[in-house]
């Protein structure tokens, strides 16, 4: 593993998604800076997954090569990056037109805070202490998974499919165990067409130029754990009305709960801290909490607002990692749609929420056909 690999991972899972996310935070009008950066990162990753799903399903069905898939994904990523670039130009252009000449310097330096009095200063020190403790705990969890070895036998299928795709330049046509020709439309792997997570990982391995086992077991978990806690931080921000000290306490307790949640291998803590590189764990630890965050925002508004639009993105993104994502996203959408209707009696909004599960619904029909 070289510096180039680490740098490539940082670009792919930090810089690129955050850049993608600029479009979404502008669209959703998220103004608070720290929250905006987190939301940009998280929604950018979601957009990456959604684009992966959009590209990979037809390409796997059409028996295209992994090289073609990587090329298409790169094109889609470039288009998304240009969309964000256009957003930045438009927003800053409007501010400059309005005569705000300090717009760029403020973006870099940030707003200057007023000098705090004694009591506020002490409160701030405690806040910084709690935020630092939360950050250390989260980084520790990410580092342990990147540093130490946890073996999960389910990788016999997932990582083997990725190795086969990278080396043979095919997508889901080799039996992951026997290496005989096995088109995706056969047996258990039939459902992989609707959720081609392993092919997305294989494409990332090609982009970063690293072996799938190293990507899955070392590099990806580090970033993914940080991203998952990014979603939880956003949830904390909603639940504690933007209070960072309380959000930090929430994250500290969440970390402790996850670390001491090994009562079975199925719990959320086990999914997050033992095998986050697998699609089902991504659904449990990233997609579902992200849906909670979006629904919390939607439920707090009487009017429809802009958040339901992001649900459409999550509907695609949630289908990529696992078949269980295809099942859970519509179910959770249906439940929160009902709750929203009970709270606001706005049937148009409820309908819009339910419609957001339509992409997932289409994949669900295929998924269930595959299982029947």
């Amino acid at each position: 593993m070289t510096c180039k690999t680490v740098l490539s991972m940082c670009v792919l899972f930090l810089a690129v998604p955050t850049w993608f996310g600029i479009f979404w935070i502008t669209f959703l009008q998220i103004r608070q800076r720290a929250k905006a950066v987190l939301a940009a990162w998280v929604l950018g990753v979601t957009e990456m997954l959604a684009l992966g799903q959009l590209a990979l399903v037809p390409l796997v069905a059409g028996k295209f090569t992994l090289t073609t898939a990587v090329m298409v994904i790169k094109i889609l990523f470039t288009a998304a990056a240009l969309l964000s670039f256009y957003t930045v130009l438009r927003v800053y252009g409007q501010r400059l037109d309005a005569g705000d000449v300090n717009v760029f310097s403020r973006a870099v330096v940030g707003k200057r805070k007023s000098v705090t009095s004694g009591e506020n200063g002490a409160k701030k020190i405690w806040s910084i202490l709690f935020i630092s403790l939360a950050a250390v705990l989260i980084l520790l969890q990410a580092w342990i998974l990147a540093r130490y070895q946890h073996i999960d036998d389910d990788d016999a299928r997932f990582v083997a499919e990725e190795v086969s795709a990278v080396v043979h330049d095919t997508m889901l046509v080799d039996d992951p165990i026997e290496d005989t020709f096995m088109y995706w439309d056969v047996g258990e792997t039939r459902k992989d067409l609707a959720s081609p997570w392993t092919m997305f990982v294989a494409a990332c391995c090609r982009i970063v130029d690293v072996a799938p086992a190293i990507f899955s077991h070392t590099l990806f978990p580090f970033f993914m754990i940080l991203i998952c806690y990014g979603v939880y931080a956003l949830i904390g921000q909603v639940l504690f009305a933007g209070d960072w000290e309380k959000t930090a306490l929430f994250l500290i307790f969440l970390s402790v709960l996850h670390i001491w949640d090994y009562t079975s291998t199925h719990t959320l803590g086990s999914m997050l801290l033992l095998r986050i590189w697998q699609g089902k764990a991504v659904v449990a630890s990233f997609i579902i909490p992200l849906l909670f965050f979006l629904f919390f925002q939607i439920l707090q508004q009487r009017k429809t607002g802009r958040y339901p639009a992001v649900l459409y993105l999550v509907s695609f993104a949630g289908s990529l990692p696992s078949g269980i994502g295809i099942v859970i996203v519509p179910v959770l959408t249906a439940i929160y749609g009902i709750v929203d209707f009970c709270c606001h009696r706005n049937w148009k909004k409820t309908l819009l929420i339910w419609c957001s599960a339509a992409p997932c619904g289409l994949y669900l029909v295929y998924y269930l056909m595959g299982l029947a």
Partner: protein, 260 residues
């Protein structure tokens, strides 16, 4: 009623039986406190959680959907219950009631201790070990895979490896195809009767070498790898059509003489 018990078993399986009861109780208390915190908490956390539980414990849903399409993984629907973050929210809200920071820190420690005492740590010797290599796979799987590929026989060879290695060889390299792997236990697809017979022999401490090698030759298996610490294997298998190829630690690899 049978459906309800099946759902209940799924729930117990998810929480880890008695081990997880105390964390579920903590969650229950946190959810109960959310009920009295205010309208916002009820709308965001309580009502949807109740809906999910009603949905999950519905025997009719289990009978017609869960049992048919989510057989064996029905417990995954419980991921929709925000167990951890509702508990974390409850604890954080409780701690935030204390105004003095020293008291608050003491409350944090007490609440964390409560979670620690009632739970099981994920970081232990069984779940995490020092990494053998960058791939984080057993070193033996990598060495055996490399040795088989180094023979340069074909772009892809078929092999039989000991049970403790068959999950890992193909995570490292795909030019070694296995006669059977984890699918010996019905993982992805069923294996042939011949492969089942080979697996059966490989599970034995003293395998029937004649039968094993006969079946392997029929299936065009180029390499057979044995764990000589766990299996009693005659040193010379040339009478059976397999020649010694390489020994790596406790693993002895034999090559089909037709391909040697």
């Amino acid at each position: 009623m049978a459906d309800f018990y099946a759902v209940w078993d799924n729930f117990k399986n998810f929480i880890g039986g008695r081990d997880g009861v105390l964390h579920v109780l903590l969650f229950g208390l946190a959810l109960l406190s959310c009920l009295f915190m205010g309208k916002k908490q009820r709308r965001l956390l309580v009502y949807p959680t109740i809906f999910v539980f009603v949905f999950f414990f519905n025997p009719l849903f289990y009978r017609y959907i869960g049992n048919k399409f989510l057989s064996g993984v029905y417990w995954r629907l419980l991921w929709m219950v925000p167990f951890t973050f509702v508990t974390a929210y409850g604890l954080a809200s409780l701690v935030c009631h204390f105004r003095r920071q020293v008291v608050r820190v003491a409350a944090i420690l007490a609440a964390a201790a409560c979670v620690i005492v009632t739970g099981k740590c994920i970081y232990n010797e069984r779940t995490f070990t020092e990494a053998d290599n960058l791939y984080k796979l057993p070193q033996a799987a990598i060495d055996v895979g490399d040795a088989m590929a180094a023979a340069g026989i074909d772009w892809k060879v078929r092999a039989v490896v000991p049970n403790e290695l068959f999950c890992y060889v193909r995570q490292y390299r795909c030019d070694v195809g296995l006669l059977y792997g984890r699918n010996a236990g019905g993982f992805i697809s069923d294996i042939s009767d011949e492969a089942k017979a080979v697996y059966h022999e490989m599970c034995r401490e003293t395998p029937d070498i004649g039968l094993l090698t006969d079946l392997c030759r029929q299936q065009e298996v180029v390499f057979i790898c044995f764990n000589t610490d766990m299996q009693q294997i005659p040193e010379d298998l040339s009478a059976y059509g397999y020649l010694p190829y390489r020994t790596i630690g406790e693993y002895s690899i034999y090559i089909w003489e037709e391909k040697a």
